[in-house]
C-alpha cells in the first residue's frame, strides 16, 4: 500500500472517531435525561424549583442565568476581543506583538478555578464597590440595576466570563486578520484611506472569522462551570435584575453532581439540564451560521 493511501485511511479513521464521540455524547445525554422529561414533560424546562427533599426539579432559573451571564460576557468581550486583535496586529510595534500574543494565549489556557478564585477575592469586591453600587444608586430606577447588589451575582459572573473569553475570540480574529492578503491592504492605502478606514475595510473582509471567534467564546461562556460557580451566588431563584444572584446550568451541575447519586431523580434532572444546554448551544450556532451566510452573500 502506498503511504498516501495509509495516510488517508488513518485520516478517515480518526475523523470518524471524533464523529463517534460526539454522537455518543448526544446519545448518552438523551438516554440519561429522558426519565426527567418522562416525569415532568416540558414543565421541567419552565419550572423554577430545585428541591431534592421532594425530588422536584425545574431548570428555568439556571437556563435564564446561563443566557444572562453569556449575554453580558459576549457584549463586553466582543469589542474588547476585536480591539485587542487589531491593536496587536496593526498598531503595536513588531517586537511587542509576540509578547502580547503570548500573554493573551496564556490567559486562554489558565485553569478556570484560578479565574474563579481571582473573581471571588479580587474582581467581585472591586466591581461591587466601583461599578455595582454606583449603578444601583444612580440608575436603580432601571429594572436591570434595581436589586441592591452583593458582590457575587449574575453581573459579576458575566464580567468574569467576559475576561475569560476575550483571549479565545481575540486569537481567532487575530489569525484571520493577519491572513488577509497583503495586497488588499496596500490597495486600500493606495486609494488614500486613513488607518481607521483601512482597519474598517479589513474587519469587513474577515466578518465571518469574527463571528466564528465570538461563537467559540460564547460556547466557552455557556459551558464554564468552576469559575461561575464561585461568583454567581448560586441561588435557585428567577433573576429580576442583573444584580440578582442566580445559577447557570453548568454551575448547577458542578455543584450538585457529587451528591446527586443519593437521589432517585437528580441525575436525570442534571442530564436534562445538560441536554437543554446542548440544544441551546446548537440552536445558537445554527442561527449564527445562517446569519453569517446571509451577511456573506450580501457581500
Amino acid at each position: 500500500m502506498s503511504s498516501e493511501k495509509i495516510f488517508s485511511i488513518f485520516l478517515i479513521a480518526f475523523a470518524s472517531i471524533s464523529l463517534l464521540i460526539v454522537t455518543g455524547i448526544v446519545i448518552s445525554l438523551i438516554v440519561n435525561s429522558y426519565p426527567i422529561f418522562l416525569m415532568d414533560s416540558l414543565s421541567f424546562i419552565f419550572k423554577s424549583v430545585w428541591n431534592p427533599v421532594k425530588e422536584d426539579y425545574g431548570i428555568l432559573p439556571a437556563l435564564l442565568g446561563t443566557l444572562i451571564t453569556s449575554a453580558i460576557a459576549i457584549s463586553i468581550s466582543t469589542p474588547l476581543a476585536i480591539s485587542l486583535a487589531v491593536f496587536s496586529t496593526e498598531i503595536l510595534p513588531m517586537r511587542f506583538r509576540e509578547f502580547i500574543n503570548n500573554i493573551s494565549d496564556l490567559m486562554a489556557s489558565l485553569p478556570s478555578v484560578i479565574y474563579g478564585l481571582w473573581g471571588l477575592y479580587v474582581l467581585a469586591p472591586i466591581l461591587y464597590q466601583y461599578v455595582m453600587i454606583p449603578l444601583h444608586q444612580y440608575l436603580g430606577f432601571i429594572p436591570l440595576f434595581s436589586t441592591k447588589p452583593i458582590p457575587t451575582n449574575l453581573f459579576t459572573a458575566g464580567v468574569l466570563l467576559a475576561i475569560m473569553i476575550v483571549p479565545f475570540a481575540s486569537s481567532v480574529i487575530r489569525e484571520a486578520y493577519s491572513a488577509v492578503p497583503y495586497y488588499l491592504k496596500e490597495a486600500a492605502y493606495s486609494l488614500g484611506m486613513t488607518k481607521w478606514e483601512v482597519i474598517k475595510t479589513m474587519l469587513g473582509y474577515i466578518k465571518s472569522a469574527i463571528f466564528a471567534g465570538i461563537f467559540l467564546a460564547l460556547g466557552r461562556a455557556m459551558g464554564e462551570t468552576m469559575a461561575v460557580a464561585m461568583v454567581v451566588g448560586n441561588t435557585f431563584t428567577l433573576p429580576k435584575s442583573l444584580f440578582d444572584m442566580g445559577y447557570t446550568i453548568s454551575s448547577l451541575i458542578a455543584n450538585q453532581f457529587p451528591n446527586a447519586e443519593a437521589y432517585n431523580h437528580m441525575i436525570p434532572a442534571l442530564y436534562g439540564g445538560a441536554f437543554i444546554l446542548f440544544i441551546v448551544g446548537l440552536t445558537m450556532n445554527l442561527a449564527g451560521l445562517y446569519w453569517i451566510k446571509k451577511v456573506m452573500s450580501k457581500g
Binding site: S3, W50, K54, N234, T235, T237, A254, A262
Partner: protein
C-alpha cells in the same frame, strides 16, 4: 517506508493502545473494584501478617482525618496495609458502596434506609461513628466580636426562612440586650453543593422549628426559602461559605468548625436544649456525645431514622447542639478472608489508638469510649462469606 509514515504509524499504534487501555479500565468498575485488590501473604516464619490494600470513598468531611489515619497506619504496619480513601461526597460514597465497588464507605449521615434494607438480604452491613465533627454558626457583623452574639435554633431557622430580615429584629435583640445590633439586612449564606454539613444543619433546624420541618425539611441540599426574598447566597464548599461570609458584611453562615477557626470567622453562641449558650469546646462536645450514647443504635441496626434527626441538639447542661458524627459503613460479609481481616484490623485501630490526640487532625474531636465501643462491637460481626 518514509520516516513520516513511520512516525504516523507509531503515533497511531500508541493512540490505539491508549484507547484500548482507557476502554478496558472504563469497563472494570461495574465488575470489580476500581483498583484491583492485591492480597499477598508475605511469608515471615513466625507470624503471618496480612498485607494488602482496601478501597474506600465518600464524605469529604472525613477526608483529612481518614488520610491521616491511613498514612499513620501504613507507617505502623511497616507498609503492609494500604488504605485508599477518595473524597467523593457522602451521597456518591453510599451509591458506590451499594454497587459493591467499594470495600467501605465514609458518610456524614448513616446509610439510607432503602440501601440498608437492600443489604439485609445480602448478609447485612455495619455502620459506626469514627469521629466527631461540629458545625458552627458564623456571622460578619462588624462591631460584634466572636463568641458574643447569642442565637437560638428558632431564630436561625427564621433567618433562613426569610422571616427575620434585619439584625435588629426583636427576636434577636431580646437574646442580646447588651449588643448594639444594626438595622441591616441579614444575608444568609448556605452551601450550594450537596453536603453532609447541610444535612446536619437542616436536621437541627427541623428539630427546633416545626415550620422548618414541614416547609423545608432536611437533606444534602434543600430549597432555601431565604433565597426567594433575595437575601440568601449559595457558596460551594466550606471554603466558599467562608469567603462569602467574609465578603458580605452582616451575613450569617454555617460551616465546619475547623474552617471557621482557620478563616478567623466570628462564631455565634448557640442555645442548647437545656437553655445554656455554648461554643463547640471540648467539654461541650464531650457532653453532647455522652448524652447521645443512650439513644444510639447498635452497629448492625438502621440508623437512618435516628441520625442526625434525633441526635442534633442533645440534652445536657454543656452540650453543643450541632455536634455530629462521621460514619464508616462496611458489609458484614466479605468473600475474601484477607480483606475481612484487614478491615477489622484497621478499624479496630481507628477506634482505639486512632482516637488518641496525636492521631486526631485539628478541628475534629475524638469519640468518647462509650461511642467507640459501638464500632468495636460491630466489627466482631465481620465474617467471610
Amino acid at each position: 517506508m518514509r520516516t513520516s509514515t513511520k512516525l504516523v504509524i507509531t503515533i497511531v499504534v500508541i493512540a490505539v493502545l491508549i484507547s484500548i487501555f482507557m476502554l478496558s479500565s472504563w469497563h472494570t468498575p461495574t465488575q470489580q473494584p476500581i483498583t484491583t485488590y492485591t492480597a499477598t501473604i508475605t511469608s515471615t516464619p513466625t507470624t503471618v501478617p496480612l498485607s494488602g490494600m482496601i478501597n474506600g470513598a465518600g464524605a469529604s468531611f472525613l477526608n483529612p482525618q481518614m488520610q491521616a489515619w491511613a498514612s499513620r497506619f501504613y507507617e505502623i504496619t511497616g507498609g503492609r496495609i494500604q488504605i485508599n480513601y477518595q473524597s467523593i461526597g457522602s451521597g456518591a460514597g453510599q451509591a458506590k458502596f451499594k454497587e459493591g465497588i467499594l470495600d467501605f464507605a465514609g458518610s456524614d449521615p448513616p446509610l439510607k434506609s432503602d440501601i440498608y434494607n437492600e443489604f439485609k438480604g445480602k448478609g447485612g452491613i455495619i455502620q459506626f461513628p469514627v469521629i466527631i465533627g461540629t458545625i458552627v454558626v458564623v456571622h460578619n457583623i462588624p462591631n460584634v466580636e466572636s463568641g458574643k452574639l447569642r442565637l437560638t435554633g428558632e431564630v436561625v431557622a427564621k433567618i433562613y426562612m426569610g422571616e427575620i430580615v434585619y439584625w435588629d429584629d426583636p427576636a434577636i435583640k431580646v437574646l442580646n440586650p447588651e449588643l448594639n445590633l444594626p438595622h441591616e439586612k441579614v444575608i444568609a449564606v448556605h452551601r450550594s453543593d450537596g453536603s453532609g454539613t447541610t444535612r446536619v444543619f437542616t436536621a437541627y433546624l427541623s428539630k427546633v422549628s416545626e415550620t422548618w420541618r414541614s416547609k423545608v425539611g432536611s437533606d444534602f441540599t434543600v430549597a432555601w426559602p431565604v433565597d426567594e426574598i433575595g437575601n440568601g447566597v449559595g457558596a460551594k464548599g466550606n471554603e466558599g461559605v467562608s469567603a462569602a461570609v467574609q465578603q458580605n458584611p452582616y451575613s450569617i453562615g454555617y460551616i465546619e468548625t475547623a474552617y471557621a477557626y482557620s478563616a478567623g470567622l466570628k462564631i455565634a453562641l448557640l442555645r442548647n436544649a437545656d437553655g445554656n449558650y455554648v461554643l463547640p469546646t471540648k467539654e461541650a462536645v464531650a457532653s453532647a456525645a455522652k448524652a447521645l450514647v443512650k439513644v444510639l443504635p447498635r452497629a448492625y441496626e438502621d440508623w437512618s431514622h435516628i441520625f442526625p434527626d434525633e441526635t442534633v441538639d442533645p440534652p445536657g447542661r454543656e452540650s453543643y447542639p450541632l455536634t455530629s458524627f462521621s460514619f464508616v459503613i462496611l458489609r458484614q460479609v466479605y468473600e475474601d478472608p484477607v480483606k475481612n481481616a484487614i478491615l477489622k484490623e484497621f478499624f479496630e485501630w481507628v477506634l482505639t489508638e486512632g482516637q488518641k490526640p496525636e492521631n486526631i487532625v485539628e478541628g475534629y474531636e475524638p469519640l468518647p469510649p462509650e461511642v467507640a465501643v459501638i464500632g468495636l462491637d460491630g466489627l466482631k460481626l465481620l465474617r467471610t462469606g
